[in-house]
Amino acid sequence: MKENRLVIALSILVAVLFIMSLWVGRNPLAIWQAAQALDSESVGSIILMEIRLPRALIALFAGATLGLCGAAMQGLLRNPLASPDLIGSSSGAALCAVIVLYFGFTTSASLPLLPVAGMVGALLATLLVFILAGRDSSISTLILAGVAINTLATAGMALLLNLAPSPYAMRELVLWTMGDLTDRSMDDFYLMLPFTVLGWALLIGVGRQLSALTLGESTAQTLGINPQRLRWRIFLAVALAVGATVSTTGVIGFIGLIIPHLLRPWVGYDAGRLLGVSALGGAALLLAADIGVRLIPTEMPLKVGVLTAIVGAPFFLHLILSARKQHL
């Protein structure tokens, strides 16, 4: 089967990129030697375990989340331009994460406040866009609503960081809006992991319901699907997974848009079968982009979100143009 081969190929690609991500960096690392001497205090094993591994793991999980959630939102809204970053989920999450970070609420370490704030922000932003645009909305309405929410969230972030006591706040703003995977620890990964996985788990079994939505909400309902319950389930899943991811990495754009779009023809445009492959594709793309920023020789280290935006924005334009051609 064509789809099984695709799944195998993508899995191999993800595995290879994951290992490369452990290997590539400012200091080339002999992974096997470092891995064999894990309990020792060698520089190699410290770099591997405390710098490379969390970075690769976060890229893997964040990429998979963005691809998966992009596919789920596109299927739900039956719109190839829906994705967590375009319709505001990501920037909502970032805004709430910034609120928590810069106003010192994180000091009560007993609660995982940062990811929770991200999730609340993502859910609120997604709901707002949905209320503004409505379901079955046209592409332009959805994007306009997304632009409005994105602008609002970014402005909110800029305002807060302007007022924030930290002298580095403006630099941090760039980090939150452009996404970054450097200097993350395993603690960061463990903080995002449970919510991300919970979000994924909520999406188990929605594939067939998304396929049925191809025929519209009413017909899907007569096929035994509850569109309202499905909508809430996906909103909640996206809020959990994207909220936790964004509060760890900042907003990494376009992965949730591009990956489902590229992979859709490979699964016969079936919205349900798109979910799994999009998770693999998203993981591969973010791992590759994160290796890319390490390999591209720039004076200052490039942020991974900048790279995905530079590649993604022209692609987005292309999508809008082809959508216009179809609808006019």
Partner: protein, 261 residues
């Protein structure tokens, strides 16, 4: 054993204070093809949606055999009833075959893929609806008539016991109108039955067992086609003077609008 498949108590439904269905009831027996006819805005589609459990009536209930329809599990309901939407949507460019196969969803257990038997049903339906040659085509690029046949095929692929079809022949050419009516006629045999919203009264007279003539949310007349399709009733409901005949097949010619100059 009762031969009633669908039965309603007295139904009423209103939307934004406008009465859309005003105290009507309907009954469907095994082996029947029922036509819902009447002018635009008479409430035919609304009635069909209530029968399909898509709308909840303000008062009254729908019964499936002896049970209230709303007490059935969603999946049981999906296997019992198929609803064919008027101008139904196709949101992604699936192939015709994959789109028709969506009709098998209620029959699949969670995670189960299409079985050999499911595939046979899909193949059979594609042949019956004259779509075998189009099976690999992108369903969103089809003509209006081809598209409505694909959606009919989807509904048939669900193998329901009752098919609720909203204007299934509206976009079809003469040949495919006849083909679709024959398909519906063959479908509504034995244990199965169908309710169809139609505007072509001659075809309704020829293929349907019984008609419900609706106007302003009420049922004006019901019975065999020759009892319902009379010049008097048509004048009253449609405001049109008609000439009717029955040989060699039922025919109907609208002559002029009454009250118009």
């Amino acid at each position: 054993m009762s031969s009633t498949l669908l039965k309603t108590t007295v139904l009423s439904f209103s939307q934004t204070k406008r009465m859309i269905l005003d105290a009507i009831s309907i009954e469907l027996y095994k082996g029947e093809l029922i036509g819902l006819i009447g002018p635009n805005g008479a409430g035919k589609s609304t009635l069909l949606k209530i029968l399909a459990h898509l709308l909840k009536p303000d008062s009254g209930q729908v019964f499936w055999k002896n049970k209230e329809l709303s007490t059935l599990k969603a999946n049981e309901r999906a296997k019992a009833l198929a609803w064919l939407e008027q101008n139904g949507a196709i949101h992604w460019p699936l192939t015709v075959e994959r789109l028709v196969a969506l009709g098998r969803l209620p029959h699949l257990a969670a995670w189960q893929k299409l079985t050999e038997a499911d595939q046979q049903v899909v193949d059979q339906v594609l042949i019956e609806t004259d779509l075998a040659a189009l099976r690999g085509r992108d369903a969103t690029t089809l003509s209006g008539g081809e598209r409505s046949r694909v959606l009919l095929a989807r509904a048939l692929a669900s193998e329901p016991q009752v098919l609720l079809a909203d204007e299934p022949i509206a976009a079809l050419d003469l040949g495919h109108q006849l083909q679709t009516m024959q398909l519906l006629r063959e479908f509504a045999q034995g244990e199965r039955a169908s309710v169809v919203v139609l505007h072509d009264l001659a075809l309704a007279a020829r293929y349907c067992d019984r008609l419900y003539l609706m106007q302003h949310g009420k049922i004006v007349a019901t019975g065999k086609p020759e009892q319902v399709l009379t010049p008097e009733l048509l004048a009253q409901v449609y405001g049109v003077e008609c000439v009717l005949g029955a040989t060699p097949y039922p025919w109907l010619v609208p002559v002029r609008r009454l009250g118009a100059i």
